[in-house]
Amino acid sequence: MTISSIETPAGPAQPMVLNMGPQHPSTHGVLRVILELDGETVLSAKSVIGYLHTGIEKSCESKTYSQCITLTDRIDYLAPLSNNLGFCLAAERLIGIEIPKRAQYIRVLLTELTRISSHLVWLGTHAIDLGAMSVFLYCFREREEIMKIYEYVSGQRMMTSYFRIGGLALEPPPGWLDRVQRVVDAMPGHIDEYETLLTENRIWIARTKGVGMLSAEDAIAMGVSGPLLRASGVAYDVRKMFPYSSYDEFEFNIQTDNGGDCYARYKVRVAEMRESLKIIRQAMDKIPSEGPFRAELPGVIPPSREEMKTSIEGLIYHFKIFTEGFAPPPGEVYQAIESPRGELGVFMASDGSPKPYRVKFRAPSFVNLQSLPNLCVGRLIADVVACIGTTDIVLGEVDR
């Protein structure tokens, strides 16, 4: 190579294009962001997704309704029970049944635990992205306790599939509420611990305050939901606005912040963990120690184990439900729930056959990620890491 060939041509300088990801520790999976840079300043950011696309929606079309539940765990693998809940509620609405209160309260309790565990992973990974190593270790320590509860109740740490259409998979094992109690008692202290490490930490504030601004108007225009929207000052929470699973019987507040920056989102999520604990405590008081954990609807909801073993009708229904499935009436429903990441919507269309004609998951991560350029254009590269972290995406859910 001659010297003349590397001489800079005259004329305006060209922006540099940098590929961040798909293998980059702070993209939390396989997200690729194409950044156009002027020095360290971001001129444009384009997200490239689809690396984890597994065609879950297509697969659902060739499975019975009950079989689809195992796929929903794999969409947002940090909040499997929220996905189970969204899917089951949509199917229940399609069939037109109401499930027993006991099952509803247990669902509320477990999905709120899911919210805490999901926020813990978010807090830990977001903190480690910004250089706070110890928070990560503490968060995963507490998350493990919640995982143990999942395992005790459903037999699985992550892919729980515990909620079924019509109620729960099994009666929760004896003593499970004592384990929940232990977590609930310990959590407020742990949350205080994280806050002493971060809330007034000068480095944390410098890295998050005023970074990744999102105004309320922009947030609504971009369809952003969940903590991201609430940190921009919009009090939209599906649990309050369109209560499902008896959430209207629980007392809790929507946590909002007018900051609109990464720090505000941190504050909102931490406050949400405390609110979730409040809901869990109420749920523990409400859950009756005995009662049905599944609705009764012959031919749609599986009969109890005992009935299946002792009555001929029970055996026939059991066999038919697990071979053919059940056929809801033709129609379309949209059921939204508040997942840890925002509005998780399940659109379900039935054509009267035992397999869903179309299932669509309105993944909050997918929609929230779309607002990334709004957050990081005009900022430095280091802030992009904070912005990706603060949107709290799960790539399994983005790509489905």
């Binding site: 689809g50 297509k58 129609g331 949209y334 659109f347 004609y357 179309r358």
Partner: protein
Amino acid sequence: MESKDLGKNPVVQKLRDWDPQAVAEVIEFRGETTVVVPAQQLLRAAEYLATEPSLRFTFLSDLTIVDRFPIEPRFELNYQLLSLDRRERLRLQVRLAGAEPTIASVIPVWPTANWHERESFDLFGVRFHGHPDLTRILMPDEWEGHPLRKDYPVEGFR
């Protein structure tokens, strides 16, 4: 339960008063209202619903396509709207024929439609004119076919 007072929903009534042409059909199922809008009227109706001060459907939750192959019109586009002020949901439905399905993009009304429309294009092959960057989003760029169509086999073409 199927609602008996079909189409008595105040939002539907408003839409009818504004332009009788904009409402082709109203479907009520399980307490959810779906308004079928003719394809040419979609953008106008969307603008009206989003900006009319008494409605303010400013939030587009979702866009879902249902492929009714081999029935024509084949594609049903479901726009899931939300009014944060009125605490109300509404579904707009547009039906498109299978040959070269094309519809106006609603990005001018709801910028969030950008990725939803790209996804719909990618998986169903519906084109949105006026979209600034209508490229595949989930499938690789060189992919052939649109996987969520009903005439696309689950295991893919081999």
